[in-house]
Amino acid sequence: MAWIDKGKENKNRWNLMVFLVLEVLCVTLVVNTNKNQKLIFDNSISIFVNNIQSRTSKLQGYMKLEGAIDSLVEENALLIEEINNLKINTIVTERPEHYCRVVASRIIKKDKGKIGNFVVIDKGQDSGIKVGSGVLGEKGVIGIVSQTSKNFSKVMTLMHKEASISVSPNKGKNYGLLRWVPWHENLFTIDELPNYLPLDIGDTLYSSGYSTIFPSDMPVALISSLEKQQDRDKWLIMAKPIKRIMENRQAYVINYDYFTELDSLVNHEK
């Protein structure tokens, strides 16, 4: 008979394709002509499609998250600005338009320098950032702007040999000076706090607001160890930042235009 292959080899490369075509044809027939199978098929397809749709909408949500974060950061900056303007209002009698301007930025580079740690942020002179402005992180203080260019700024963090900030455990009654313990990640000492103060491990230290760099009452660090010195009447305090300084991703640069103006005038008189 003609249609019997002579050879032993019976594999044909069209086999699978013909098989699939015929099966698809059969399933199409089954689905289109039988009521129950059509119902099951439609139901399965809609479950499948819904599944895909929910997955893609989740994915789209993630992609939009970046934009959402940006807008939240901007909003945060405005809120910080507002709060600080209100604070200053109680100190200075006559209130100019803007004491305080807050610029939201993103940390794009982290750098270990020779005598301390730096971060680089993606806003510069064009956004109104000046050398000496204070920089806040997501929780607490990061450092001070040490260098600016057109679009970027370099921030000297608190983890730097030359950095120090006056802090207060009780919002303005007593002050101590917070310094970095060189080359210990996220570890600070605080001097000059008298040992009659009722301090405890875990207490928050706030910025004093004496300088015109940082607003007052911003959380800076948490006390991590506490010891009474024998021959002095001061506490020996170790502290850690609330959020690890180098792990911040957003930074808020605070410009006190009003006070900078004042400072330059005072310095000029000298």
Binding site: M1, W3, I4, D5, K6, G7, K8, N10, K11, N12, W14, N15, V18, F19, L22, E23, L25, C26, V27, T28, L29, V30, V31, N32, T33, N34, N36, Q37, I40, F41, S44
Partner: protein, 171 residues
């Protein structure tokens, strides 16, 4: 050896006739859910010569399946199952090959092989066929064990019928 072509044509018509007018009319009250069928029409695919071009095997499987479907009003169910079985026929054949291999024009039936070989061969292919058939009929994998039991019962009954037809009408 008689004329093979006329043998296959007569067998085709005989199987369709038997399937539609005899075995489809038998009601087996074993159980509502597991009520098995007696399938004889797959014999036309199983009994084709070993080295038949597999495209022809599949085409014939589809043809007889759609024939049964049109009469029974279950478009695509039997055709899909017998195409599936025809596709796997060569794999089963090469799995069950002896050391000597098949003779050039041998037929996988009682004339060329012993009865136990034919029984196993028919059972495997009929089982594959009924699994595909009931899956297409119920159209969900949710009732897998029901399908499995139904296919098993169908295979047992169908093998008996198919062996009887082969014994009575040899090529």
């Amino acid at each position: 050896m008689r004329n093979r072509r006329s043998y296959y044509i007569i067998l085709f018509l005989l199987l369709v006739f038997l399937q539609l007018f005899l075995f489809n009319q038998i009601d087996l009250f074993i159980s509502d859910i597991y009520a098995p069928y007696i399938l004889v029409y797959p014999l036309i695919i199983m009994i084709l010569p070993v080295y038949t071009n597999s495209l022809i095997v599949m085409g014939l499987g589809f043809t007889i399946g759609i024939f049964i479907d049109i009469v029974m009003g279950t478009y695509g169910v039997h055709a899909g199952a017998s195409t599936f079985m025809a596709f796997l026929r060569w794999n089963v054949l090469s799995l069950m090959e002896d050391k000597g291999g098949y003779a050039p024009k041998s037929i996988p039936s009682l004339t060329d092989e012993n009865w136990s070989w034919v029984l196993l061969y028919d059972a495997i292919l009929l089982f594959l066929h009924s699994i595909a058939l009931f899956t297409l009929e119920i159209f969900t994998f949710y009732f897998f064990w029901s399908i499995f039991i139904k296919a098993l019962l169908t295979t047992i009954l169908s093998v008996i019928a198919v062996m009887a037809i082969q014994f009575l009408y040899k090529p």
